[in-house]
């Protein structure tokens, strides 16, 4: 079974994560790592391959060239190789542009299963799979919290606003997993050492057959018009536990007449 996993490098959470007020774009200069939710997708891909007894797990990404540093974590977990589409002309791609680039890169791989994480922590869109599935003309199931694959058919359980759905689809299919589906494994030392030697292809837009007019800002259909800081929560307090945290919480609750 050949499994492609779409993974994204994102800015680390914390005070350095920001949108550049000048360019109105995400500041991608700070510390970065692989989107945590994508680890669940990689884990599931590895399990599917292990259950099938053979196959290949390919990580597919659109991002800056230095994103390979983050993507290597997936190789260390056990993925076989990585394809990173990286091109100046792809900077600032929105959903329309990114889904087009990813779909073209995926077509070249002809996977049986395309896996996605549940959301990217920088955009929280949770919509990418639907757009990519549409472009690949494959069935899509999202938010999967239980997954079975047998005889070329997947059966998935997922939560909706009304309870749980059980959905079936034939392969090839696009699947987006919930973070509760599995517990991602930690890369072993051997895995980390071996990751550097695994194939890591950095491709340009033309390598994957994408015209520059359909990527980056040129291929995007949405814009940020202006930014403003949101209303804060007033006098919020943050403390580090030094053994007295429980007492400090109690004092706070007493002060607010909540206990």
């Amino acid at each position: 079974m050949k499994i492609a996993v779409c993974v994204k490098e994102v800015p680390d959470p914390g005070p350095n994560r920001r949108i550049d007020p000048g360019t109105l774009k995400m500041d991608r200069s700070g510390d970065r790592s692989l989107n945590a939710y994508d680890l669940n997708a990689i884990e599931e891909a590895l399990r599917l391959k292990e259950a099938a007894g053979d196959g290949e797990v390919v990580l597919v990404s659109l991002g800056q060239a230095k994103a390979l540093d983050s993507i290597r974590k997936g190789l260390a977990m056990g993925a076989d190789r990585a394809v990173l589409v990286s091109d100046e002309a792809a900077a600032g791609s929105d959903l329309v542009a990114t889904s087009h680039v990813l779909a073209e890169a995926l077509k070249a791989e002809s996977p049986d299963v395309v896996l996605f994480g549940q959301q990217a922590t920088d955009g929280d869109g949770a919509v990418m799979w639907a757009a990519v599935a549409e472009r690949l003309k494959m069935p899509v199931v999202s938010q999967i919290s239980e997954l079975e694959v047998s005889g070329g058919t997947i059966t998935a359980k997922r939560q909706t606003e009304f309870g749980y759905d059980r959905i079936q689809a034939p392969l090839p299919a696009v699947l987006a997993v919930a973070d509760s589906l599995n517990e991602p494994r930690y890369p072993s030392l051997k895995g980390i050492m071996g990751a550097k030697k695994k194939p890591q292809d950095v491709k340009s837009l033309s390598d994957v057959g994408v015209d520059a007019s359909r990527a980056g800002e040129a291929g995007s259909r949405t814009t940020v018009v202006s930014l403003s800081p949101p209303q804060g929560r007033g006098d919020s307090r943050k403390i580090e536990d030094d053994g007295s945290a429980a007492q400090q919480i109690l004092d706070f609750l007493v002060e607010r007449k909540l206990v």
Binding site: P13, E134, L258
Partner: protein, 320 residues
């Protein structure tokens, strides 16, 4: 300019979120229509008229009975192309998000998500959203038509500001690949146990509890302080705690006097269900956890150590 609102329904009613978006759309664009897709849904069309839809397009048939996204992508995309709608609006949900993503790719139309307000600025639609875990808010726009938007749950209240809609039946022809995924079963979750919507104090456990047994800590604290126990989707999906206690986009929306989050990261889909809590206290060992951005008191530390101490202190204070 004309606007189309995607109406989601469950059983015999249109979702409140969809009606809220429809009311808002009709208030900013008098030329607003709606689309309903499902089996036996024609009867719901009238309801939509009251909330401002001029025309309700109805795609009614067995082939589109199950709430799956891809058949809806076919129908909505075709309708938008034929009628030339300038704006297409969706109230965010598990289903609507997948429909919107698909339509965006089919029509190469820009999609802005997580909007909490819409406005007209000189004839152009402007969306308002907050980003990066609500640490910044942005005005967003579109460079081409149609403009697609997913509206954050609970942003607009339904308002009866319309009259009666004309109903127009549309086809349910589907692409081959759109009907490959099939619904095998839809399980309704029974809401058993105490209702978290009524409690003044909610002690919420997340995946940071480490195991289902961790909820004992939550139950002890809740009983000491006089509250109920709530949870996140990650622990519900893992089978650690019942669905009826889940807060968030696909769970319940709560506004207790006090919310105490233990081992909860504060993902945006959880936040939308509890952000109107009067006081928010959180315990998380990760100093960068998003929940600290909207906590009145944030404690960086190990819940396994802090929660039992807090329970003991509360018991002592309340003399129980």
């Amino acid at each position: 300019m004309s606007t189309l609102v995607f109406l989601e329904h469950h059983g015999s009613s249109i979702q409140k979120g969809s009606l809220g978006v429809l009311s808002k759309a009709a208030a900013i664009d008098p030329d607003t229509s709606a689309v309903l897709v499902g089996s036996g849904v024609a009867g719901l069309a009238e309801q939509a008229g009251k909330y401002g839809a001029k025309t309700v397009f109805v795609a009614d048939g067995e082939a589109v009975a199950a709430p799956l996204p891809q058949p809806r992508v076919d129908i909505v995309s075709r309708l938008v192309q034929e009628k030339g709608f300038g704006n297409v609006l969706f109230a965010a949900s598990v289903l609507a998000s997948d429909v919107a993503g698909g339509v965006s790719a089919r029509l190469d139309a820009g999609l802005n998500w997580d909007l909490n307000d819409l406005a007209m600025d000189g004839g152009a639609l402007v969306g308002k959203r907050s980003a990066l875990g609500d640490t910044i808010s942005a005005d967003v726009g579109w460079t081409t038509e149609p403009r697609l938007a997913l509206i954050r749950a609970g942003s607009f209240e339904p308002k009866e500001n319309g009259g009666s809609a004309s109903v127009e039946s549309i086809g349910t022809d589907l692409e081959d690949f759109s009907s490959k995924a099939v619904m095998v079963e839809q399980l309704q979750e029974q809401a058993s146990g105490p209702s978290i919507e009524e409690a003044d104090i909610l002690v919420t456990g997340g995946r940071g509890l480490g195991s289902p047994e961790g909820f004992q800590l939550m139950e002890e604290l809740a009983s000491a302080i006089g509250g109920a126990v709530a949870s996140t989707r990650a622990v519900v999906d893992s089978g650690w705690y019942p669905y009826a206690t889940q807060i968030g986009q696909t769970g319940k929306v709560v506004s207790p006097k006090l919310y105490i989050g233990c081992g909860v990261s504060g993902a945006i889909q959880h936040k939308v269900g509890m952000q109107t809590s009067q006081v928010i206290v959180s315990i998380n060992k990760d100093p960068n956890a998003p929940i600290f951005d909207f906590s009145d008191l944030g404690v960086v530390g190990d819940l396994q150590a802090i929660v039992p101490q807090l329970t003991a202190l509360v018991k002592e204070r309340r003399g129980s």
